[in-house]
């Protein structure tokens, strides 16, 4: 494979994944509006298209056509840079996520290490790359709040950066148990280690990592600024939090970043705890002979798992009230972090015993 071919294939993968991701973001918004509507005993969007299915298109068109207002008091360079950082970081981390069988590439089956279809780049430290990009994405929100030159925005940004820095710790520590079990930071290896007996060898059940999964779930809600930890954009206190002064497409970029982060977090949860693209039945089903079935079934499982995670996200949003700020901080530092450290100790002892 020449370097030109490699570049072309990579470009193709990037384009396809980005388009799929953006469509996924649009329809996650619809999913949320529909589900929250159901939870609150109303219909949700139902006018545009069958079952309101074309609503995301109309929403997108609307945010393009709205007037783009830049307030006079803002610090322009950073005000314009902030939404780009937010959306950019949200879309970058999907690059290391493997979402399908790794031995399908151009020209049928390929050996491991060669170019394959269902992951943009297979890096040794994939998990750390996701965490690193998350830690950079704080700047999008922090700079948006600061450069807007508004009290609501600044308060929202301060809350958000404090919250993200605190919960990043619990998030990172909760993943150490999984890494210990797999002995690798490569996301593909972590998934393959869980693939032997189907559901029973998932880290969530067979790996006894359900405490870690619970911590990850909580910390992920806080990292993505979602309810019940959505203090940075608490409407009743801060009007809109860090994006109060943003309008039109710049607001939409923050909005898209939030949902893209939700999808990424769901993908990581799927890979680390739910066995990634592997089937929950393991060896019970005979391996498919046809290459198309072989390629498409894993994607089906992966999407199903991510979808159920997003469903849970929306369900929680529709059910739980918002935390108070001191509750949020003491929950993160006094409960989640010690629990995560205990989980690491317990997992290491268990692994040492075996």
């Amino acid at each position: 494979m020449t370097i030109l071919q490699f570049l072309l294939w990579s470009l193709l993968k990037v384009v396809v994944v980005t388009v799929v991701m953006l469509v996924g973001v649009a329809y996650t918004v619809l999913l949320e509006r529909k589900l929250v509507g159901r939870i609150q005993n109303r219909w949700g969007p139902s006018r545009v298209g069958p079952f309101g299915l074309l609503q995301p298109l109309v929403d997108g068109a609307k945010s393009f056509l709205k007037e783009d207002i830049i307030p006079t008091g803002v610090y322009r360079p950073l005000y314009l840079l902030a939404p780009i950082i937010a959306l950019g970081c949200a879309l970058i981390s999907i690059a290391v996520v493997p979402f399908g069988e790794p031995n399908v590439g151009p020209g049928g089956l390929v050996k491991p290490g060669e170019l394959h279809f269902f992951q943009i780049s297979d890096v040794n430290i994939g998990l750390l790359v996701v965490l690193g990009v998350t830690s950079i994405s704080v700047y999008g929100i922090a700079l948006a709040g600061w450069s807007s030159n508004s009290k609501y925005s600044l308060l929202g940004a301060l809350r958000s950066s404090a919250q993200m820095v605190s919960y990043e710790l619990a998030l990172g520590l909760s993943l150490v148990g999984v890494v210990l079990r797999a002995g690798s930071l490569n996301l593909r290896v972590i998934v393959e280690q869980q693939s032997v007996d189907g559901m029973l060898s998932w880290n969530l059940f067979g790996g006894m990592q359900f405490v870690a999964f619970f911590i990850y779930l909580m910390a992920a809600y806080a990292e993505t600024n979602r309810s019940p930890f959505d203090l940075p954009e608490a409407e009743s206190e801060l009007t809109g939090g860090y994006h109060t002064e943003y309008s039109s497409m710049k607001f939409a970029m923050f909005f898209m970043a939030e949902y893209a982060n939700m999808i990424t977090v769901g993908c990581v949860a799927t890979l680390l705890f739910l066995g990634g693209w592997t089937s929950p039945f393991g060896d019970q089903l005979p391996p498919p002979q046809n290459i198309f079935v072989h390629a498409l079934f894993p994607i089906f499982w992966f999407v199903l798992k991510v979808f159920s995670f997003l469903f849970l996200y929306v369900w929680v949003r529709g059910t739980l009230p918002r935390f108070r700020y001191d509750q949020l901080m003491s929950f993160g530092w006094r409960w989640l972090m010690p629990l995560a450290i205990l989980n690491i100790v317990a997992t290491s002892l268990w692994l040492a015993y075996h």
Binding site: S135, W146, V165, E168, L185
Partner: protein, 172 residues
């Protein structure tokens, strides 16, 4: 390929560092420092140190610089003024830096047995790194962690003492 990437990111790094000095607004300086840190991470990666590279991004560019920007935002630090002192520092500072760098460069060029680092495909994996860290270098590693622990305890002690004083003055 490696040489091109090296040139690009070394360029970014230097541009960020110079911009850091030239900007008069603290938040711009902080952001240029992030650019410097991240391009350093890429340079580490090209030298084969993948774990070091990502640790640089997570710890320095992610955590520490967030605290920097946080402080700038909280204190609402404004533009710095150019005073007579800063102009004098500029006049003396630049020749001093040039002289200092020249001395260091000659030292490095004349030094023997420094070893070599090359830009190539080879990568030191996290397993190899941790094997060395937890066998050969175990004592220094543990001593460093104790040092950091002491620093944390000191910070907590300082913070709690000033809080107690506030309570006392508040009581009056």
């Amino acid at each position: 390929m490696h040489v091109i990437l090296f040139a690009v990111f070394a360029g970014f790094c230097l541009a960020g560092a110079i911009n850091l000095l030239l900007q008069s607004h603290p938040i711009n300086s902080a952001l240029s420092l992030i650019v410097v840190m991240t391009s350093l991470a890429v340079l580490y990666l090209m030298l084969g140190a993948e774990f070091l590279a990502i640790a640089q991004v997570i710890v320095y560019a992610g955590a520490i610089m967030v605290l920097f920007t946080f402080v700038v935002m909280l204190l609402n630090a404004g533009r710095e003024d150019r005073t007579l002192g800063s102009r004098a520092a500029l006049r003396i500072g630049f020749p001093a830096v040039v002289a200092f760098l020249a001395v260091i460069a000659t030292m490095i060029l004349h030094a023997q047995g420094l070893g070599q680092a090359s830009l190539n495909e080879a990568i030191t994996t996290t397993e190899e790194l941790s094997a060395v860290l937890f066998t050969k270098l175990l004592l220094p590693f543990e001593v460093t962690s104790v040092l950091i622990l002491i620093a944390i305890l000191g910070a907590v002690a300082l913070a709690s003492r000033s809080e107690g004083q506030e309570e006392r003055t508040g009581g009056k």
